[in-house]
């Protein structure tokens, strides 16, 4: 944690302070170079100004890095015990851990491939006749982890700055994909930014709307278990949209848990920065959710949140289940639309 933004309260878990500090200083949760984060969009030639932008967010862009970080702190939580993993910054120095190098390694092994759902979503939007812009390195951070951590004053400041950045770039409408970002941009920004006038829609709403005009076919016949991310289902109430989409894809058989679906879906254990405070417990919850989903005997598990994907993969790994892939709904749609 850098000196100038050091969080004052002793009650804020250091794991969350670390993410918050990165947002405030580097405009992303891991403090990674923004140019690197935007690399997924190379080759897509997205315009940097447009009334409508695609908002990529941190989660998918840095999913490789986040996974590396999480597996690191989950191991630390187990071996070193109680509080140390939360004091990441200090711990980093003590052990000579070089987080930027860890992240860099992920990038160099083609980490941007992890941002596949973003590429898929843009391709889908184009098929629907929407040509969004993308602010790339200039894309502000939504600041949701600040809000989750309880740093609402800082969240509000960040939101006002983010709004200004987007206004300056001429943004009128946002198509957002990460559930946490969407919730922040759509529901929280209006509470903190006076005169907030940017329309925010979630990627799935747009796809669901155009569904009647689409012919969707999946290359193979699969049983797909859908996992509802908390933010999508209980905060944004996108319950029917993903189901309508999956049901419209030829070859996909949507299978659901008997009880824990839709508004009753079980959290993957990655909610609200929980995994940064209770890494090991977060792993146990991931296993529980993966078990529930496996009861439906799926060939694949589909969800639509970078956090959930990471958690469910971890859950399956811990259960030693092989051959069941966790895929993002955006990828599924992109595969089916081609």
């Amino acid at each position: 944690m850098s000196e100038e933004t050091a969080m004052t309260s002793e009650l804020l878990p250091p794991g969350l302070a670390y993410l918050a500090d990165n947002i405030l200083t580097r405009q992303n949760i891991l403090g990674i170079d923004k140019e690197q984060g935007a690399r997924w969009a190379r080759g897509l030639d997205l315009p940097d100004t447009s009334g409508t932008i695609f908002f990529a967010g941190c989660g998918y862009q840095f999913s490789g890095q986040l996974e590396a970080l999480m597996s690191l702190i989950k191991t630390m939580d187990k071996t070193v015990g109680a509080e140390l993993p939360m004091r990441l910054a200090q711990f980093q120095k003590k052990l000579g851990l070089n987080l930027p190098a860890v992240y860099g390694k992920v990038f160099s092994r083609g980490g941007e491939a992890e941002a596949k759902p973003l590429v898929a979503a843009v391709k889908v939007l184009r098929k629907l006749g929407i040509e969004p812009g993308y602010l790339a390195a200039n894309e502000p951070c939504c600041g949701a982890p600040l809000y989750q951590a309880g740093l609402q004053t800082k969240f509000a400041e960040n939101a006002r700055r983010a709004y200004q950045t987007m206004k300056t770039a001429g943004v009128k409408q946002i198509i957002s994909i990460v559930p946490y970002c969407t919730h922040a941009l759509q529901k929280l920004f209006p509470l903190y930014v006076e005169g907030y006038d940017i329309e925010v829609r979630h990627f799935l709403e747009i796809v669901a709307e155009k569904l009647p005009s689409l012919k969707l076919r999946f290359a193979r016949r699969v049983r797909a278990a859908y996992h509802d991310p908390c933010q999508l289902v209980r905060y944004l109430r996108l319950i029917e949209e993903p189901r309508r989409i999956l049901n419209a894809i030829e070859g996909i058989e949507l299978v659901e848990t008997a009880w824990t679906k839709g508004a009753w879906a079980t959290c993957c254990g990655g909610g609200g920065g929980f995994e940064a405070v209770f890494p090991e417990l977060s792993g146990i919850l991931a296993v529980n959710r993966a078990k529930e989903l496996m009861e439906t005997k799926p060939d694949i598990i589909v969800t639509h949140c970078p956090g959930c994907i990471m958690q469910l993969k971890d859950g399956l790994r811990r259960l030693k289940i092989e051959g069941v892939e966790v895929l993002d709904l955006a990828e599924i749609i992109a595969m089916a639309i081609a």
């Binding site: 878990p13 740093l151 908390c230 009753w264 209770f278 919850l285 529980n288």
Partner: protein
């Protein structure tokens, strides 16, 4: 703000619980049957959902008025020849009750979260009284020297083999680990039976109180509360002020919604108690203490509740009916039980820890354990927005606002 909780030991407690396979097994079974039962109860009595909305409106009006309602209830109780008290703090409540009880008394007690909140049993024991928890789950907890892990099913985490071992020790006769549960229940009944009739004092809580008549509504299934509040010569009730509603019909509604969301179509018993036992059968002369208690005392506990009622986003914690439904929906509770909590469990417990117990360290530990996944809110008959409260608390804790 002297109490300093330690995050490290809290986290260790949580993780030990999370790695306890027996606990997880017990909880998984409980969650499954609870959900099925609630759904069945709601299907059978579908009006409950609209009734819950009505109860929320009753609560929204009653909570800001709870102090006045308490005074009104006390006036009614005293008119009925009982006695009513307002206790500002937990200590005051303990003083009032131990003043009434004295020492060397035999006490039979019904399950009461409010009693747990102020440490009533321990206090009375320390004063030299013999106290028996008579709710079976609470009895098990008392004999184990444990603390409750669920508000309605305190011994939710204790498998039957452990109960058999415990009972063998306590009752001094062998109960096989594979004995029928019915035999364990019968043994407890036999052990407690004479305590009810020998007891000097019976202590209970209440699920709702009608201020206009001073009537306590007490919901139960075992029948222990009927005995504990009926057989001894003195009945003392400890009630959180948030349980007060204006009228009898309001209290009926609160009660019905409470038991239905607590997974019962209808409970075996609902006791309505408004005063001491009396008769006028001999020459119309009213005489107190016929078959029931001669004395009836009700202590309304503030204990931070009126303070909590002043926080716009946190006051909804006081709408809680203690049906326990949210606990079964919490993914963290599913692996830790009541270790995720303080006096009250899961996310809502953080609000009680912060405002009622004024223990910010504990509140922070609980607040940052909440996933803010929001499934509890789906279940809650009062639509209590736990994530909203948690985020508000985190703000207060992280930004140092109080």
């Amino acid at each position: 703000m002297e109490k300093k909780s330690d995050f490290k030991s809290y986290k260790k407690e949580i993780m030990d619980a999370a790695h306890n396979e027996r606990l997880r097994l017990a909880l998984t079974r409980a969650v499954g049957s609870f959900r099925a039962n609630v759904n069945k109860a709601l299907e059978k009595y579908p009006h409950t959902i609209a009734l819950a909305e009505e109860v929320l409106k009753i609560k929204e009006k009653a909570i800001p008025e709870m102090e006045n309602l308490a005074r009104q209830a006390i006036a009614a109780i005293e008119e009925n020849k009982g006695k009513g008290y307002i206790a500002r703090t937990a200590e005051e409540a303990l003083d009032i009750i131990s003043g009434l009880v004295g020492t060397k008394k035999l006490i039979v007690k019904g399950k009461s979260m409010t009693g747990e909140e102020i440490g009533l049993r321990e206090h009375l024991e320390a004063k030299g009284n013999e106290v028996y928890e008579t709710d079976l789950g609470e009895f098990i907890i008392q004999k184990l020297g444990d603390r409750p892990m669920h508000i309605l099913s305190p011994s939710i985490h204790v498998p039957r083999e452990d109960v058999a071992r415990l009972f063998s020790k306590v009752f001094g006769k062998e109960i096989a680990p594979d004995a029928e549960i019915a035999d364990m229940v019968a043994a407890a009944r036999e052990y407690l039976r004479d305590k009810f009739f020998r007891a000097d004092i019976g202590i209970s809580g209440a699920n709702a109180v009608a201020a206009e008549t001073g009537t306590l509504f007490i919901i139960e299934n075992e029948g222990n509360i009927r005995l504990a509040t009926g057989a001894p010569p003195v009945h003392i009730a400890l009630v959180g002020m948030e349980k007060l509603v204006p009228s009898l019909s309001d209290a009926f509604k609160v009660s019905e919604v409470t038991w239905r969301y607590a997974n019962y179509t209808v409970p075996s018993y609902v006791s309505l108690v408004s005063g001491p036992s009396k008769t006028g059968d001999i020459e119309k002369v009213t005489t107190y203490g016929a078959h029931g208690p001669k004395e009836f005392h009700v202590i309304f506990l503030d204990g931070g509740r009126t303070r909590l009622a002043k926080y716009p986003k946190l006051m909804q914690a006081l709408y809680c009916l203690r049906c326990g439904g949210c606990l079964y929906e919490c993914p963290v509770f599913a692996v830790t039980a009541g270790h995720f909590g303080d006096k009250y469990f899961t996310g809502i417990g953080a609000v009680w820890a912060a405002i009622v117990n004024e223990d910010p360290e504990k509140a922070a530990a609980i607040a940052y354990t909440c996933l803010t996944c929001g499934r509890c809110r789906e279940r809650c008959p009062m639509k209590i927005d736990v994530p909203e409260m948690i985020l508000e608390l985190r703000k207060m804790l992280a930004e140092g606002e109080k």
